[in-house]
């Protein structure tokens, strides 16, 4: 029983320091501690998520993608959104869109989808997504919405959209 309890305590300690690094935006240290948790508990979902988010917040997009590939082999967690975001950051837009397929249409996936569509020059499709997001009260959404409208050649709709937001 003592042997089984020891790693549990160690993991609690590690998560405590992991949480502290996250609060302080020390993302490289957060990656390190996540790895320490994973060396004890390889499939720990919280540690996996922390590592991926820390890599992304640290702008280590290449490392995040290889970590996703690694985790996908031995975990049943769905990493499609993280993967799509990393591919978007690498400007692999078609692959990014592909990775978003089959995801539930929550505001995070819709925001990413609209940003990908914007870069692909599919402005009307991009604006369509922002129109659906209008009710979600997302901060600064109007900035991207207006960019989409203007780029779609629909600048005349900007005023009405701003009034309705």
């Amino acid at each position: 029983a003592a042997a089984a309890a020891a790693p549990a305590v160690a993991i609690e300690d590690l998560f405590t320091s992991l949480n502290r690094h996250i609060q302080r935006s020390e993302f490289d240290l957060a990656v390190k501690v996540s790895d320490q948790v994973l060396s004890i508990a390889p499939g720990d979902e919280d540690a996996i998520r922390c590592k991926l988010v820390a890599l992304i917040k640290n702008d280590s997009i290449d490392d995040a993608l290889s970590a996703i590939q690694e985790f996908s082999k031995k975990s049943s967690i769905d990493f499609s959104f993280f993967k799509a975001y990393c591919l978007y950051r690498q400007n692999k837009l078609d692959e990014a869109l592909e990775s978003l397929k089959g995801q539930e249409g929550n505001s995070a996936t819709m925001l990413l989808e609209s940003q990908i569509l914007f870069r692909l020059g599919k402005m009307d499709a991009c604006v369509d997504v922002y129109q659906k997001l209008q009710k979600s009260k997302i901060d600064s959404l109007e900035i991207n919405f207006v960019a989409g409208l203007v780029s779609a050649g629909r600048a005349s709709e900007v005023q009405g959209t701003m009034d309705s937001l």
Binding site: F15, T16, L18, L111, Q115, S140, I143, V146, S151
Partner: protein, 44 residues
């Protein structure tokens, strides 16, 4: 002279709003419990 100011068209700004939706999971339940919990576990 001087010439009048003119408006210059530019590309609209797009923010990476999707980045803001990438968040760490809550670790509250994974961290060390306070000492009282530990003592009461020892002494029942």
């Amino acid at each position: 002279f001087p010439p009048a100011f003119q408006a210059v068209p530019r590309n609209p700004i797009v923010l990476d709003l999707a980045y803001n939706s990438i968040e760490f999971p809550s670790l509250e339940s994974r961290m060390k419990k306070d000492k009282k919990g530990f003592i009461s576990r020892l002494w029942g």
